[in-house]
Point group: D2
Chain length 343, copies 4
């Protein structure tokens, strides 16, 4: 099957490679000539513009996989494709678009009888090797039509054991992809996936933080331990209740440097973590952990918040407490309860 | 009534003054000669040691108010008093001791028939003028005996309107003090008071943070407002649902400097906030807000947490995400959802 | 000054009364005849339809205060007014609309040269007596024009002490109202006000919960206290750091019934608490406490969440833990750490 | 090597079996005759009392593995063993004791030259097959002496891939056990393990909750999806960033019943989750996610909290809001923002 791929970054390029390896043909475009030339050498048909790309297809209906950063560039590209494609052609947004945008785009393109599929794609830089886990939204007919593509990208059953008691349900799920529902449903499920991911990461992160600070001088000497976080991460991979792929990654990073000195701790977030909380709020579902994980990232990107200054100002106001001078202050790490007078 | 006061800092000194103004006699001690000499000039009997202080009392039973930082110094002073005082004498811990320490001390002193009272004292530097709100633990007889002292320190009914529907209950509550229960109960109630205080402060602080960042360049231009947080704090003092004394203090600080430039945002915590969470855990009571308020203070005292580095390391691991370079990074304040590629 | 008021419920009716008492004339409408007839008897001109109301004005420009539940009914009423009013007339939305709706409506009405003001109004059922705290968004000219109305509704300086150090800023703030900014700014500030309100309420609520459970049988007997929460609430009103108007209300409720038996604990939320979190997310401001307060309300309205069932299912999965049978289970309140075997 | 095992429940019995399968000899005791007779049939030497068990050892030093619920029974058993064992004998606490108890016990037993090892043991009911992940605290000599036991219980390297970049560190970690540090360190690490586990579980649980409520009638009809949570859990096991053993268990439960009707959602917690938060507080480490996960469990065990009643009482106080009547109320699930009037 022939498929177009737009956006040849970390994700898009490897998706092409995995598809070509499975015998599919790829027509590729990227604003940057370098990656498209690289893929041309590997067997893809490279086009220098969206227009050229659409023309380069050898059959119909065309299916174009858009693999761009969510937001304006994806929006514009999908809109542009809407002017270039023909009835029955297919646009697949494989990025991390907001699912309400999918619902809207599917409606807009439907007016031209162009079909729209949203495909939440997990797997990161390891996907080329490990396969991509895909959560797909769209009409049944078009998702079925694209099945060979999804099947090629998916990890397949591999050596992951079957779930006990699983006797029905979508068979594709065991191959690593599902048809989640109508347009938007794919990205919605992927969004929640990422929301969960934030929560899982923060849970590990807090745990390692408590382990590492167990040698704090604020603790009674007999209760201090110098723990080897790299060994702990490693052992938890093996037989423990909390083993996971994220822990594998954490163990690898800690094995390389238990202090993680190469990292400042400035943590970006992308849209999904935010939208997950908004979805929880719309549904009136409590999401304490997922929101805390998001806020920890917000906090990580600031020297101090204005909120903290308000706290200091109030403390001065009622108690005459002059604040510490920041991390350079001798009291910095302590916050020792016994040091504060009654107020 | 004659009372001893140990610890003549911000709180202890003013407590003496308020007591003397009400006609009580004070015998005072502080390791530092300066404050005790100052109080001597104002009419107190100053003693240069605990021993001298105990001898300086003109009647019995003696009552000694300990107003020292919670922790070792209070512990040692109470223990020392236990060796100097006589049966029927009274030790009042007016500081912020942990209530389980009160329970233990009361038992220990009871073996010598010395009576122990724990008095959680709120009011901060304003107490001398506004009166102190007191939460008292101890046996009924001794709390009743000390009533003139508590009545003098308390704010009294003042012009605070009576609570509608309040027809019974401890009449002292309307004067600003209560006998909360047996030894430990006073500090337990004060501890929860401070736990609540953290939560209230953090609620205001987050609100002002959101107000202040409403002119962020990350927002669509038409949705940005430059809000005057000083005026907002002021107006909320008047007729709004969220008016409070803490807001009054916040309004004063913001009136002085709406940017709060004089504060770094490094926020200490004292024991009560921590012990409140431990009490919640012991009782299996969910305390989301009170714990979040505590953790925000912990976070405020660090450049970056190890947890954040773990997050960055994992993100690099699965997505090849290289972290921002800290607040100097062009992306620093943004965390724009649309900038992240799918992973 | 003559003003129209639409919506004569708890808030709207009292706003009329306070305005008429200050000498302003009111033209009123409500879908329900009863409240409008009641106000007619008190001196208002009552109209039986929006159309009739607009015609009943005796001068120009007309100013109409819409005091309806946020959402569709307000939206439709404002749109309807847009078809009835004339250039220079004014629509004031005094309800709790979402501020982005204000921005949009102001633009839409501006095309007809109708002026739009959003006025966040705090004070609840006490406002008629205590005055309303108002946060106003709109163009300077129209806000200035309406000043007599706002001044009449506001609490005025009263006996609330002036903020120390406040020497400049909007003088209206000390009367209890501010011009916060352009259209939308009023409701934005009111929204944050309500977000803070949720946080404050939850802080008190958790504190009282910990106090009340201090007699739990799960605690060692010597550490149990039977605390009088009504007396505690009362004493905190007097001289403590956490005194506030919300605490006054809590004290009144607890004075009436310390068990709060008349309440089930099913807690609604309105839009502002939700939108506050969304605003925080848009600005990348951590809002741990405000979001926790919102989620606690969501949780309060459910018997059990699906999340909790997932937890139980996982616990059974890894540990063979059979869950308790719900609150009727003998273990219900305990969650005693020592009862669980290692897993 | 011969080892005693006390406590033959879910964990202890299987530990014996795994040890015997590896060629070790077991001397077993349980207060209940049934499981010890069962194990006798499988080759263990069964004793009817602690005394008999100690005598039944055929060599020295004896090593006794205590596998009992944390708390009083473990405490008493260890103390009893202290009176029965001889110098150089070893007590291993394989349960979930609080690590400060380990520190104390190790000191107490050291006075009799009895050696103490704490071994946090993860693996649950699957451990017999999958092996146990062990985190061990104690002196080096005794931990080395017991190595054959730990090696037999551990999962071994199996087919879990090696961590990239891991070139040094404790080789045992790759077999599934570590010597974490001095007495107490083993249980400390296990405690954090369980704290993380709570966070991970809650992250998944919240995510599934948001998925399941995506068909809520509170949402606009076009934004509702009926999602198949069983298929979603399954697909996430395969190639996604959030694959984990806990997810495997969740997928199995959802495959069996996507509604999880067999569960009420009443979730116990054991000590480790609580102690993890206390440890975080002692170290001043923010632990938002781990604490939220704990509090969600507390909340799950109550019909309503007193905190929620306080909220309702305050809402009635300022806004005249009469609360919904509980889940049977027509508004129960909604909390629709637009339904609330301004207050």
């Amino acid at each position: 099957m022939q498929i177009g791929v737009i956006g040849l970054g970390r994700m898009g390029g490897n998706i092409c490679r995995r598809l070509m390896k499975a015998g599919h043909g790829c027509v590729v475009f990227d604003a940057d000539a370098k990656p498209r030339e690289a893929l041309a050498k590997e067997g893809a048909i490279a086009a220098a513009s969206l227009e050229a790309m659409v023309k380069a297809f050898t059959g119909k209906p065309r299916a174009v996989w858009v693999m761009l950063p969510a937001g304006r560039i994806t929006e514009e590209t999908v809109a542009h494709l809407g002017t270039l494609l023909q009835p029955d052609d297919i646009v697949i947004d494989g990025g991390n678009s907001f699912y309400k945008d999918d619902i809207r785009r599917a409606k807009e393109l439907a007016q031209k009888r162009i079909r729209y599929v949203d495909c939440g794609t997990s797997g990161g830089i390891w996907g080329i090797e490990r396969g991509y886990c895909m959560m797909i939204g769209g009409d049944k007919a078009v998702v079925d039509h694209l099945d060979p593509i999804f099947a090629a990208l998916a990890p397949g059953r591999g050596d992951i054991p079957r779930t006990r008691g699983r006797t029905n349900g979508d068979a594709r799920a065991e191959q690593g992809y599902i048809h989640a529902g109508p347009p938007g449903a794919g990205h919605f499920v992927k969004m929640i996936h990422n929301g969960i991911e934030y929560g899982l990461m923060q849970a590990y992160a807090e745990g390692f933080d408590i382990l590492r600070n167990k040698d704090s001088e604020d603790l009674p000497e007999e209760e201090r331990f110098e723990l080897n976080v790299a060994d702990i991460a490693e052992v938890w991979r093996r037989g423990s209740v909390i083993s996971s792929w994220l822990l594998d990654l954490g163990a690898a990073a800690l094995a390389k440097d238990p202090q993680l000195k190469g990292f400042s701790g400035f943590v970006q977030d992308s849209g999904e973590g935010r939208w997950t909380i908004e979805a929880a709020i719309e549904e009136a579902v409590p999401a304490e952990v997922l929101s805390s994980a998001l806020f920890a990232r917000f906090r990580s990107r600031q020297g101090h918040t204005f909120a903290e200054k308000v706290l200091s100002a109030m403390r001065l106001g009622f108690g005459g407490h002059v604040e510490g001078q920041g991390p350079a202050d001798p009291d910095a790490g302590s916050g020792m309860p016994s040091k504060d007078a009654a107020k």
